[in-house]
Amino acid sequence: MSLTLSRRSFLAGSAALAAIRSTRAQAQSKPVRIGLLTVKTGPLAAGGIQMEQGTIRFFKDRNYTLAGRKVDLVVADTGGNPAGTKTKTQELVERENVDMIFGPLAAFELLAITDYAAQAKMPILSLAAAEDMTQRRPNPYFIRASATSSQNMHPLAEYAAKELKFKRVITLADDFAFGHEQMAGFQRVFEDAGGRVVKKLWPPLSTPDYTPYLAQISGADAVVQGFAGSNPLKFMKQYRDQGLKLPVLGGGTACDDALLKSYGDEAVGMVSCSAYTGDLDTPSNKRLIDGMVRDYGNIPGLYSAGLYINGQVAEAALEKTGGKTDDREAFNLALRAVSLTDTPRGPFSFDHFGNVVGNFYIRRCERKGDRLVNTTIKTYTKVSQFWTYDEKWFLSQPVYSRDYPPLKG
């Protein structure tokens, strides 16, 4: 059962809290305004709705009060297209006068607004995984607590080569930037560890039948899939239907916790690497999961946890600035200086590009009774977007793309 939200401001909670007047509150009696750019209609709606749920979950947990200030949340539906995102961002910045923006969901939405937002000095806390946002074309007001497209694929590749001892893999991902960047990251680390990516297949984003691609899977030890949205479901079903038995490795979206309720037996055995895992035992994660199950009847995944975490980051930054947001630069610096331990994804901090440095979890999908769960089997700590590579060297290479790194032979 999902909560419906209309676009009213959400003012802080209890009367008791409202009665308390700290000196901080007196100085900052204006509520802090947070804009959420999400997708609530169209094919991306699944992730977008989860983003909203995670955000609401966090603010409810805090009674819509951060650092002594009330919180006004403004939710904007971008419709999943860049032009719409630009318009909604303008609405948030110019009409709603928000102090910071959570979201947007997709990389192409973010790329459409980054110049505008940077000019407006608007802090953006997003999940959008586009690599160069924190590498070769950084936006100084952008921070990302989730991961770059490849950040979770690097440890997955390491695990695949060193521990699972795979030598040859075939990769399949949606044919767009997110898919390209994921697989490029996997390829680099996997091949540096002695493995070889034999084939890279790129089904278009909207592919009803994966058979032409599945039929080309041969001559490898394992398959790496990086599909997003509802495609992983379709893909794995068709994979099993074709009788394919090779082990499957997955990216963060490939076996997201929130997708588990939709999956069937075809997901069992999938080993994936994600920034978020439901079985992480931190108090905030427990609170998040309990709250999500109670309010929405589903466990959280990347999207809802990611926004919950964004809320925590905003809160930490506000506490650092004493609740002040009028000095954008100072607030932005405070955001980037945030370092937390008790979060649904575990401890993390940000590098000087504003990208997260934190834990990544290798999980295996298993059946427990009538439910599927992702069980963490290994944790990589303090993983940065550059993995173990030297940052300067990494940035001197071309950005991860469809053809880079090139296939060997």
């Binding site: 939200l5 318009t87 609405e91 044919d175």
Partner: protein, 311 residues
């Protein structure tokens, strides 16, 4: 009387940045104007030539991408605009040559196929279009030294272009060429018998239509300072077609009203109505039920009925 009303409307529109509160709404107004130009272009074919097109976002996108590439290559805005429009006309000629091979549903499907192919190319030919990451444009032009960076200035520039577009539409409709286009819609065979070159007339109408779609694409690019394959997707073509039909085909103002409807619903109403997609669909259905000829002709009809009878 009609002239006075029209003049007043145009004056009000011209003064929008002065009386509308907030840059956000000025920006919405700019969007309404350049989508109107897009819809007006499509209406040349759909309304006046009777040829339904589902691929015009392709021409819109050709203009936007060409300009983005030229700007990215370090050239100036004039080169970008001229180059984009030239390439758009070329593309329109090519598309028309292909599409006019079919009539009726064949024409629609060919335009659909062309539009999808343009979209596929935009997605896939990453070296040219940068794929779904899109191309950013760093600055808006400054024609005659007036920077279009501010919403008000951009609005006025768009408004000026809009005026030219509407004027050209009015001239087109009133001209012999416009009459012959309508002739090919209503009585193609008779036109042929009378010695008119039906194919050539349709071809030229397509070029005229494509030109304005390209202009709209340029304004879109400068407005968003970004273009990506979504701008040429099937939904973009379908939405533009819906603007034309809902507003009223074969009328001058219909596409403008339709554009205002869709843009307002998508951008403004969506802030207040969570299920705005449903409401938009319901509005379309209501239009068909109550005013199947479109909002503008329907409103005129209701107005006449209201002022005529002594009810």
């Amino acid at each position: 009387m009609k002239r006075l009303a029209l003049g007043a409307a145009l004056a009000i529109l011209a003064a929008v940045p002065l009386w509308i509160d907030g840059t956000y709404y000025v920006n919405i107004a700019s969007q309404i104007l350049f989508y109107s130009i897009f819809a007006l272009g499509i209406n040349v074919l759909v309304g006046y030539a009777g040829l339904v097109t589902l691929g015009h976002a392709g021409l819109f996108g050709v203009a936007a991408y060409t300009a983005a590439r030229i700007l990215g290559g370090g050239h100036g805005h004039l080169a970008a605009v001229l180059g984009a429009l030239a390439l758009t006309l070329l593309a329109a000629a090519l598309f028309a040559g292909l599409a006019l091979r079919g009539t009726g549903i064949g024409f629609v499907m060919i335009t659909l196929a062309i539009g999808q192919i343009v979209w596929g190319v935009a997605y896939r030919w990453i070296s040219i279009t940068n794929g779904d990451n899109g191309i950013s444009v760093s600055a808006r032009p400054s024609p005659f030294g007036l920077s279009l960076a501010s919403p008000a200035h951009f609005y006025w520039a768009t408004y000026a272009v809009f005026l030219v577009a509407i004027a050209s539409m009015a001239i087109f409709v009133a001209s012999p060429f416009g009459a012959s286009v309508r002739g090919t819609r209503d009585q193609a065979r008779r036109m042929n018998a009378l010695g008119y070159q039906v194919w050539l007339i349709r071809f030229l109408a397509f070029l005229f239509s494509g030109f304005w779609s390209g202009v709209a694409g340029l304004l879109y690019l400068y407005y968003n300072q970004f273009v990506s394959p979504q701008a040429v997707a099937l939904t973009a073509s379908a939405e533009a077609l819906l603007m034309v039909i809902s507003g009223g085909t074969a009328t001058l103002l219909g596409p403008v009203v339709g554009a205002a409807l869709v843009v307002t619903m998508k951008n403004v109403a969506s802030a207040y109505i969570e299920r705005w997609n449903f409401v938009l669909g319901a509005i379309f259905v209501a239009i068909v039920v109550f005013m199947p000829e479109g909002l503008v002709p329907g409103a005129v009809r209701w107005w006449r009925r209201a002022t005529a009878g002594g009810r």
